[in-house]
């Protein structure tokens, strides 16, 4: 049931974007970041054969059962409260009456990582807190996803100094919500984006409206079984990477 693509891969003329092309473009984007050359004979040669097969196989939705499971999962996330700082107050207010996250099944905020499958990192992650956040993320059961809420978590935001670590340095993040603190509606938008991502038709937002194909910078994960982590950058904090990352 692989979706056809009108134009040749990579030119982005097709209606729906085929996930593996997206996957390859995403990995190429990362290769670019790492300084690899994209103009080589075969852009997707950056990945070895088996590794590339595993990515494609895992990220493409094959059976209808998995589609049903993905639908069920995406409509009933149990977020693990990780209130670190100011964003936690805005995260609390998405549970409140005005911007009610219970409408989408996200209301059951679990305290322990064992019962949660979505980690909303709301606030600043200091270097003292990074190993703890990583340990909590490792102790969450698969399939698990992570939303990094606010500028501090996505990129040390206002405080670019010795004390903070952006969450991407030590754990795979699926959705970054900008803002300092993001409005509750912004976090709700991020949550809904994750929901569609898990249902494997990533919401392209403005790219769809203006048909701006090929401008995706980095979409870390596509595919129903949760994100597949491909990058292994050395973590700023010497956190042992043996704990597996998101997804299958």
């Amino acid at each position: 049931m692989k979706r056809e693509l009108l134009g040749p891969p990579g030119t982005g003329l097709g209606g729906r974007v085929d996930p593996d092309v997206l996957r390859v473009r995403n990995l190429n984007a990362r290769q670019l970041l790492r300084g690899g050359d994209l103009e080589g004979p075969n852009p997707s040669a950056h990945l070895e054969g088996a590794d590339f097969e595993r990515h494609v196989e895992e990220s493409v939705m094959t059976t209808t059962l998995e589609k049903a499971v993905a639908w069920a999962r995406s409509n009933s996330f149990f977020p693990a409260t990780f209130g670190l700082a100011c964003c936690a107050i805005e995260m609390m207010s998405i549970v409140a009456a005005r911007v009610d996250v219970a409408r989408f099944g996200f209301e059951a905020f679990r305290a322990s990582p064992r019962q949660a499958d979505l980690l909303i990192l709301s606030g600043r992650v200091s270097i003292k807190m990074a190993p703890i956040v990583r340990r909590i993320y490792d102790q969450m059961l698969e399939p698990k996803w992570a939303i990094s809420m606010g500028a501090c978590c996505s990129s040390t935001g206002v405080f670019n100094n010795y004390a903070l670590v952006p969450a991407d340095k030590f754990m795979p993040i699926d959705v970054h919500v900008p803002g300092c603190p993001p409005r509750p509606e912004a976090l709700m938008h991020g949550v809904l984006k994750l929901r569609k991502m898990v249902q494997d038709d990533p919401d392209m937002g403005w790219r769809e409206r203006y048909d701006a194909r090929g401008t995706e910078e980095v979409i870390p994960t596509v595919g129903g079984l949760g994100g597949v982590d491909a990058f292994q950058e050395p973590a700023a904090v010497s956190v042992p990477p043996e704990g597996d990352t998101a997804g299958a």
Partner: protein
């Protein structure tokens, strides 16, 4: 800094050296300090950074004897953002957004403590209207901070619906903040010398609407909780601390007033034209958890009264100081006058220079005395900005309060302490 020698049993050799070093605060050291005479098995637990009841990332090393808490060691620093270091690297007026993110529930107070200190250094005279606007926003912020405290503390005690009521009011107050400054939290509304913009026309009307219904809403919270059997059992007579010990520990704010000492900087040492308003200071008697709860609830009434008086008596005049060396000239002036353009350019590029000196500017934040120490070396960047955060000092009294209590009382006492970890860790 003596990591206690051997790696703790059960840690796998493959663990990174950082993890092994991070465990240098082994728990066994806490157990030895306690007298081993008690036959009961001592259990030391991490009431750790990731815990629903610690109101942020506070880690308590709790040594338990069965259900009774024998020893508490708070370990903080898990959300340390190096804000005071970052503040030294920015121009004076760029420090405000960084400072506001310290105690993230009382951002107007952080901004005012810092602006007050810099205005004292510059000897800038803040116009009356700006002072009244500042009082309005600070008292609304105090109500909002107490609402978030009430919502989360009632949640800790099991009264879940309180959370939704309190956040309903909080949304109304944040609408007002958004109306006056464009953003809900960390609004950067206070500038050095006054406020950045005058309040829009519909602000007074909407604020009056809120002030009318606020007292009845607080009555509802009181009706729900004041004589509720469970709340009385959990709070009345639990973990009291007398005023003298609190004073020696440097505790200020609702905790001190609950113990009977009516020390409130707004009355004792009025600043920002607080002397024009008539309001009372709620003072407790015994100093137990119920008094701390009742004091904060009563403070909300007083804050509503202050905002009402400030709004009615709002004087006309400029919303920011006329001194162009400190405040940006209005946009329309840029088109016409040359020196306004020069002032604008100078302020925007380098920022104003502050004469060298040191100032400590204390104000009354919802959690106690919030003092901002600013040292300037004559350049356009502060040489040192230190915030004396009330939660940081109040946290020291927590082990005195909760030692010997049950675990459930530990949670209730921590909720009534109202620690904000952003302010503690800075």
């Amino acid at each position: 800094m003596s990591p206690t020698g051997q790696a703790t049993p059960g840690t796998s050799p493959s663990m990174s050296d950082y993890r092994r070093r991070e465990q240098s605060i082994t728990l066994s050291s806490v157990e030895e300090q306690l007298d081993q005479a008690s036959t009961e098995e001592l259990l030391t637990l991490n009431f750790g950074p990731h815990h629903p009841a610690t109101h942020g990332v506070l880690r308590l090393l709790v040594t338990l004897q069965g259900e009774i808490v024998r020893e508490i060691k708070p370990i903080i620093g898990y959300v340390h953002t190096g804000i005071e270091k970052t503040a030294e690297d920015k121009a004076y007026w760029k420090v405000i957004p960084v400072i506001e993110r310290m105690d993230y529930l009382s951002y107007y107070f952080n901004a005012y403590a810092y602006c007050g200190a810099v205005e004292t250094l510059l000897e800038v005279e803040v116009p009356k209207r700006a002072q009244y606007l500042r009082v309005i926003h600070m008292e609304l912020n105090r109500i909002m901070s107490h609402l978030v405290w009430l919502g989360t503390s009632a949640l800790d005690l099991g009264a879940i619906s309180m959370f939704w009521y309190c956040f309903r009011e909080r949304e109304k107050i944040l609408d007002l903040f958004e109306m006056s400054s464009g953003q809900r939290m960390h609004t950067r509304y206070f500038q050095v010398g006054g406020v950045i913009e005058d309040i829009p026309s519909g602000f007074a009307h909407k604020l009056n609407g809120l002030l009318e219904e606020m007292p009845s809403r607080i009555d509802q919270y009181g009706a729900l909780l004041n004589s509720n059997e469970i709340v009385l059992q959990r709070l009345r007579g639990i973990c009291p601390l007398d005023a003298q010990t609190l004073l020696s520990l440097g505790v200020t704010g609702p905790l001190l007033r609950a113990a009977g000492n009516p020390w409130d900087l707004r009355k004792a040492d009025p600043y920002c034209s607080y002397e024009d308003f008539d309001f009372k200071i709620p003072v407790g008697t015994v100093g137990d958890n119920y008094d701390r709860y009742a004091c904060r609830l009563a403070e909300m009434y007083e804050s509503v009264k202050i905002v009402q008086q400030a709004l009615d008596g709002l004087p006309e005049g400029p919303h920011i100081t006329e001194d162009r060396k400190v405040a940006l000239p209005p946009r329309h002036e840029l088109a016409t006058s040359m020196e306004a353009l020069i002032h604008h350019f100078k302020l925007v590029t380098e920022g104003f220079r502050v004469p060298p000196g040191e100032v400590y500017f204390p104000i009354e934040s919802p959690r106690g005395e919030l003092g901002c120490f600013v040292r300037s070396d004559g350049s356009s960047k502060p040489a040192r900005v230190h915030m004396r955060d009330p939660s940081f000092v109040n946290l020291q009294s927590f082990s005195h309060m909760a030692k010997g209590a049950y675990i459930a009382d530990l949670i209730a006492t921590l909720a009534m302490l109202d620690p904000i970890l952003g302010g503690i860790d800075r």
